[in-house]
């Protein structure tokens, strides 16, 4: 398998694409998690589905760039709608998220059904965006993903200090003259990019887990934000690559669920066994303390 990785065209694309996805969503997911915006990622991912369908209906093209632009625009629209609902109504943020998420996703499913009924020769394959199908990645997809991902990571690296301050204390950031709302919109846009990168590999339904999982696992191992971001990228890449390769070796397995399963192994391992915050060591420490008290 290892040698095939470098020679087999499909395997190479799958491995590269899922590694990219893992790195970008892992790093950006840290900020989403620290700002308690995991649900926002979920809403944005689900909102991408109607965007993809509309882009296909309007252009008749399945070129990755066309579909990705559709997904990104829909994500943007969902964000704007969400902010408006929160501002103009008395709904709480999570109710507003739930409404936006289900409306967009429901609309997407309707469009998807319509497209597959219309029976155009080109229609097959849009449903891979539901749960992902890494085997369909071609070199062109991986290139698009690489460009988008590199841009997102560059911005994240340049504005690391600003995003850290925004995540820790947004009002203090604003008092220093860093525009909290603008930075927040920028960060959300970067998360939309991460989602777009993951569409074909993980799919819209499980994409949010790819943002939240690596960050939660990484937080267990470190108390430094910089280290957390790096670790999350590594965890994201590891689960992406292993999951994608397993799914490709079993014909017709959707990739998203397999990636999320291997991510789950990492997350559970971290929750239980990480030295300072792991539940297992916690229990052992408590038992030792109890024993000491009893022997006193």
């Amino acid at each position: 398998m290892l040698i095939e990785l470098f020679t087999d065209y499909t395997l190479r694309n799958v491995a590269l694409g899922s590694a990219l996805l893992g790195i970008v969503s892992g790093a950006l997911g840290c900020f989403a998690v620290l700002r308690r915006q995991g649900l926002l990622g979920d809403a944005l991912a689900h909102a991408a589905l109607p965007g993809i369908c509309v882009a296909f209906l309007l252009t008749g093209s399945k070129a990755p760039l066309v579909l990705l632009i559709g997904a990104a625009l829909a994500g943007w629209l969902a964000t704007l709608l969400l902010l408006t609902v929160v501002r103009e109504t008395r709904l709480s943020t999570d109710s507003a998220l739930a409404i936006v998420l289900s409306t967009f996703f429901g609309f997407g499913i309707v469009l998807l059904t319509f497209i597959s009924r219309s029976g155009s020769a080109n229609q097959a394959g849009l449903d891979k965006f539901l749960f992902g199908q890494a085997a369909t990645l071609v070199a062109e997809d991986v290139q698009t993903m690489g460009l988008l991902g590199a841009a997102a990571l560059l911005i994240l690296a340049a504005l690391h200090k600003e995003f850290k301050l925004l995540a820790f204390d947004a009002e203090f950031a604003a008092s220093l003259g860093f525009p909290a709302r603008g930075l927040s919109v920028l960060l959300t846009s970067l998360i939309v990019i991460a989602i777009v990168i993951g569409l074909q590999t993980v799919g819209v339904v499980l994409m949010a887990a790819m943002l939240v999982g690596p960050a939660v696992a990484a937080r267990q191992w470190t108390n430094r934000l910089g280290v957390m971001v790096m670790l999350a990228a590594v965890f994201g890449a590891a689960s992406g690559v292993s999951g994608a390769l397993i799914s490709v070796s079993e014909a017709n397995t959707p990739t998203g669920p397999v990636i999320i399963l291997s991510l789950t192994v990492i997350v559970l391992g971290s929750l239980f066994f990480a030295p300072a915050r792991g539940l297992v060591w916690d229990a052992i420490r408590r038992r030792q303390q109890r024993a000491e008290r009893l022997s006193d």
Partner: protein, 266 residues
């Protein structure tokens, strides 16, 4: 030089409910100012309005004679401690360095200069030995001192602090009082939201009583009266009024300046 803070006809409103109504307030330089009022009186909102963080409906605020946006580098801010997540993955020194982000500007990362500055600020609040400690491992008082050190790193002329004494231990309370006096001695102006009527006249020398409207403002000797407190608290706070009556008796007995801190605290 203009006053550190000049507020004219300020009205702030979240949705349709006014949080502050037609405030006029001038704060003179070199004072330790307490903002006192019941819960929901708009004390935090007043600070946020000055810093451009609250929805101002009408009125103007000027800081040393200019809008806040032109005076950011002269102002330090200590938000309410409970306003942030203390389980954030960072350590004390790193939080203090955030105070220097404004001077650093966009993109540039903090370096040796900022680390040394932050270390000096931690020393000033007696926290140098905890610089590397993860912030969730600090006590409430130590977290508060980290926030104060972050404001010191802003190297400002005017400080706004939101309830710095809430939930802190006796050591921290002493440290904060000494820090406030030190700042005043260096000619800085400090504006604190304060909740404890008992300690207010001892810790501060200038008072603004607030309940959506400004009830009174000025030196304690003039403003700290049972009448004003009744107007601020709606006459419902019996305990508060009793404190004042003691204070007024004390004042009749002798001038404030002669009372040492320790006598008052016993």
């Amino acid at each position: 030089m203009s006053n550190p803070v000049e507020i004219r006809d300020l009205t702030v409103s979240y949705r349709d409910k006014p949080a502050l109504w037609d405030i006029d307030l001038s704060i003179p330089a070199g004072r330790l100012v307490a903002i006192i009022g019941p819960n929901g009186a708009g004390k935090s909102t007043l600070i946020k309005a000055v810093l451009g963080l609250a929805p101002v409906v009408a009125g103007t605020v000027s800081i040393f004679g200019a809008p806040y946006a032109e005076r950011r580098r002269m102002v330090g801010y200590v938000p309410q401690r409970s306003s942030v997540d203390w389980d954030f993955p960072t350590h004390a020194l790193d939080v203090v360095m955030m105070g220097a982000y404004g001077q650093l500007g966009w993109v540039k990362r903090p370096g040796k200069t900022q680390r040394e500055l932050a270390m000096r600020c931690l020393e000033q609040v007696g926290m140098a030995d905890l610089a590397d400690r993860q912030i969730s491992q600090l006590s409430g008082g130590q977290q508060q001192r980290v926030f104060l050190a972050r404001a010191l790193a802003q190297d400002a002329q005017l400080y706004f602090m939101d309830e710095p004494f809430v939930g802190v231990d006796a050591v921290t309370e002493r440290a904060i009082v000494n820090l406030l006096r030190d700042l005043r001695a260096r000619g800085k102006t400090v504006v604190c939201v304060h909740h404890d009527l008992d300690s207010a006249p001892e810790y501060f020398d200038w008072l603004a009583l607030l309940n959506v409207r400004l009830i009174a403002a000025g030196p304690f000797e003039i403003t700290f009266t049972s009448d004003n407190l009744r107007k601020t608290y709606g006459g419902t706070m019996g305990a508060a009024i009793r404190h004042i009556e003691h204070f007024e008796e004390d004042r009749r007995a002798g001038p404030m300046g002669l009372r040492s801190e320790d006598e008052v605290r016993c």
